[in-house]
Symmetry: C2
Subunit: 271 residues, 2 copies
């Protein structure tokens, strides 16, 4: 069984996949988020894992847009604690480091730690694990990468310091994607939907009212622009109920009457 993820070996997405599938799968790295969706859609991989939200920096909107574009099913949710490490080639010491490579968000999340190192230049790279691979390939004694502990193992780097993120409440939420609706594990108690508003007064309020009346919890709401229709939005909503439940079905019937372009993205167990 194969799971596609974006990035290089040792990426946080790969850790998320390993956490969810308990190592029973082969994780396949692909270059772009769109490639994860394509690999699952074309049957190259049975599952895909993509990050959708970080507890400090917010949603990864590209993946919301891709959920709307592709006909895939969200069958699982993973919440992973993000802990960054400073990785260096064997033999390097802290005093030698002049340049630190990583994804801009990881650099930002370790801003305070990096400032504590004197005269170190932070250099943006495409992704965290990729920056570890790059630093390993260069082998320069004055370069370091910020990535996961797991990336150190993959690229034979030394963990000079672990847990260098400024804020420990750093979690990333991932979706597990499959081609067909499937229950991969546990009780599905969460459903993700997306819809647009009708041109009626209090449109958004009337959509949310549906769930309030059905006593269904709303976990998250995210708006994304509709290309070609300035200042109109698609709303991505996560609710606290399984799609197969009668009360969910009834609520969605009501939602259809007050919304447009309604699509169920999946039902899954809360991560």
């Amino acid at each position: 069984m194969k799971v596609a993820f974006q990035g290089a070996k040792g990426a946080y997405s790969e850790l998320a996949a390993t956490q969810y599938f308990a190592k029973r799968v082969e994780a396949l790295p692909v270059p772009e988020f769109a490639d994860v969706f394509r690999a699952v859609a074309k049957g190259k991989c049975e599952f895909g894992v993509v990050p959708v939200e970080n507890s400090l920096t917010g949603s990864i909107h590209q993946n919301f847009d891709l959920l709307l574009k592709h006909k895939l099913w969200i069958c699982g949710e993973i919440k992973l604690r993000i802990s960054h490490s400073l990785l260096v080639p064997q033999g390097t010491t802290l005093a030698k480091i002049k340049r630190v490579y990583s994804h801009p968000q990881a650099l930002m999340q370790c801003h305070r730690y990096l400032k504590s190192l004197s005269r170190v230049e932070a250099i943006p790279y495409f992704d965290t694990a990729g920056s570890a691979r790059y630093v390993a390939a260069m082998g320069a004694p004055d370069c370091a990468a910020i990535a996961s502990r797991s990336a150190a193992l993959h690229y034979d780097l030394k963990i000079l310091k672990a847990g260098i993120e400024d804020n420990k409440e750093n979690f990333t939420r991932f979706f597990v994607l499959s081609k067909q609706p499937k229950r991969s594990k546990g009780n599905t108690d969460k459903t993700s939907i997306v819809f647009a508003l009708r041109d009626i007064p209090g449109a958004l309020y009337r959509c949310l009212e549906v769930f309030s009346k059905a006593e269904i919890q709303i976990f998250k709401i995210e708006s994304r622009p509709i290309p070609g229709r300035p200042w109109e939005y698609m709303f991505y909503v996560d609710i606290g109920e399984d799609i197969s439940k009668a009360k969910t079905q009834k609520a969605l019937e009501c939602l259809k009457k007050v919304s447009t372009r309604l699509k169920v993205l999946g039902s899954y167990m809360q991560g």
Copy 2:
């Protein structure tokens, strides 16, 4: 009168400022969005102009976070049609171009046009106008930049082709910031607020209900994570009413009871 904007001379933010103030102001370029907020907060500039949303790519979240952090007032809104041009040093022809520099989002918004040019490499740069300045400084005959027409004038570049954006429904929305609440022009008919939810059932629904009951239109809702409180959010809401109106005041009194950390960001005339 000075207006701070992020970027280089010829940036879309500068065009927005010029459109709003009708050239009656001096536009001051600063390197970062945070610098715009700081320049206004410290009184270096009377106004600041920052982009908050693009009709194709969505919100510029950094500026929402900065609105919460700084004690500034939104006193105006600008909607600017974004039209990109391909700019080259004098004497360059289309056939010579090998590299095109611009902000990643501008490159993405001209993806189709760039693909139509054979063997051209798209190279990300910090900002659009900055890329024009860079290409002008290099003066290499095989390099081009994607930026505004106005950037061509600033850096003595030739407009090889105008209107190269793939989607013409490309608008950016800007906020005009001031230190004190002020009515710079027109009738204020829009108010921006931000709040967090209380831990009560149907919390978000109950917040939006306030506006529905008052018959106040909601234009936009945007959620941002609360750092240190995973999966909790601040909600930025734009409503269609002036803050000084009795019905707005009454609605906000009701909102206070069902929300927490409520802050009024400003009242302004719809752009």
